[in-house]
Symmetry: C2
Subunit: 213 residues, 2 copies
DNA sequence: AAAATTTTGTGAAAGGAGTCACATAATTGA
DNA sequence: TCAATTATGTGACTCCTTTCACAAAATTTT
């Protein structure tokens, strides 16, 4: 297959496929067809095949795909064949919830640091869960700690008013990936990546669908 | 303008516009051009005009859009000119964080009930915040309480293993909108709407962008 | 061993979404 | 009052995404 730019939408679906395949592997299934995977992920079978074809020929005609191999290939494509080290900035309710969010661990995302403006206030709150406790550090130490602990991704869970200045600190600290939970638009220089997780925007979407049907 | 189906993407952007316009209104701005709104929301100005044109002619040529009127129009289109009553199912770390999530209130989303399998274990944990405390009820009462409190949207924050059976209960209770935080695919009958919020999927996306640049 | 069956990989067609460019309308200034 | 300016609304174009449909390859059946 000729080289083509991989669509954003394909990348999003790959991570859905990955999750489905994990469940299948868990369930002991060895082989899966594009039709089966498609129905489990609620997409068109041709879509599945086309998505996979961007990266190579993983299937066997007349048979399907080997679950284990396909999963490994997808993870490699997505850059999930390594552990990603993350920090949480802003240890309020949401921040502490994320500190003990079990699904991150399962998926090779590891929180290795937590920051707040007031480390005193919140200390001890997050500690007891999940084996090794995460100590809460003052935000001023981010640059130093980012280097030391090889942090590549930060989750911003501060109030919206602080989000941009936190983002600036992250940029300065060389943390290239940001998952922004603070409901406000933040901007970063070229080379840095921000993904927003705005609960209310998703709710707006839901509200629209509900009120227009 | 002729009738057209409104693209999903347009709906998503409308809620971005809505948030930007709120900030502008707060800042005392009376009039805004498509170019200004576009730059604030990081989209193309023609895109803004086209998105708005789906619903009517809100602007004045040579002038722009009245912030207040436009905001009201967008909110009406999105179905946000009412209060949406919600329940949270599964009061673990994430569930409790959402119970006291301040941005919901600002945006006319109100949590009016909280459910868990074990209401004893978690009681009191969520109470003190934000004025009126939310009492945690046993999940078995969902059908009764949904009717009584006119619940239209449920947030699923249970472990993934329980998500589908919770969804079944919600369907039975006539709750048509579901925001699913449990990292597993759930299915509901025609007429019901599920929106997924999978943190790890978004992280996967981020990881891909980071590792391929 | 040949025919029937299954299921992939992909070119081509269809469908959606985003951008451009300009006619149109309102305002401002001389 | 008329020209210059500003900024909308939208047809046409381009680009991206999805779906269709079928040849190619592997397996199973007879």
């Amino acid at each position: 297959m000729k080289y083509q730019k991989i669509p954003e939408a394909t990348i999003r679906r790959l991570s859905r496929y990955s999750r489905c395949l994990e469940e299948m592997e868990q369930g002991g299934e060895k082989v899966v067809s594009s039709a089966q995977l498609a129905s489990k992920c609620m997409v068109n079978p041709a879509q599945v095949r086309k998505d996979l074809a961007y990266f190579g020929e993983f299937g066997i005609r007349g048979v399907g795909y080997y679950v284990k191999d396909l999963l490994a290939s997808i993870k490699k494509v997505l850059g999930l064949n390594k552990e990603w080290r993350m920090a949480v900035i802003g240890i309020g309710n949401l921040g502490s919830a994320l500190l003990s969010y079990k699904d991150f661990l399962k998926q090779n995302y590891k929180i290795v640091a937590a920051f707040d403006i007031d480390p005193q206030k919140v200390i001890g709150r997050v500690s007891e869960k999940l084996g090794k406790p995460v100590e809460i550090l003052h935000i001023s130490r981010i640059k130093e700690v980012a280097k030391e602990r090889k942090i590549e991704i930060a989750l911003i869970t501060t109030p919206p008013s602080e989000a941009q200045s936190v983002a600036n600190l992250l940029v300065e600290a060389g943390i290239r990936g940001i998952l922004n939970f603070a409901p406000t638009q933040i901007t970063v220089p070229e080379g840095f990546v921000v993904k927003d997780v705005f609960f209310t925007n998703i709710l707006d979407n839901l509200a629209y669908l509900l009120s227009s049907s």
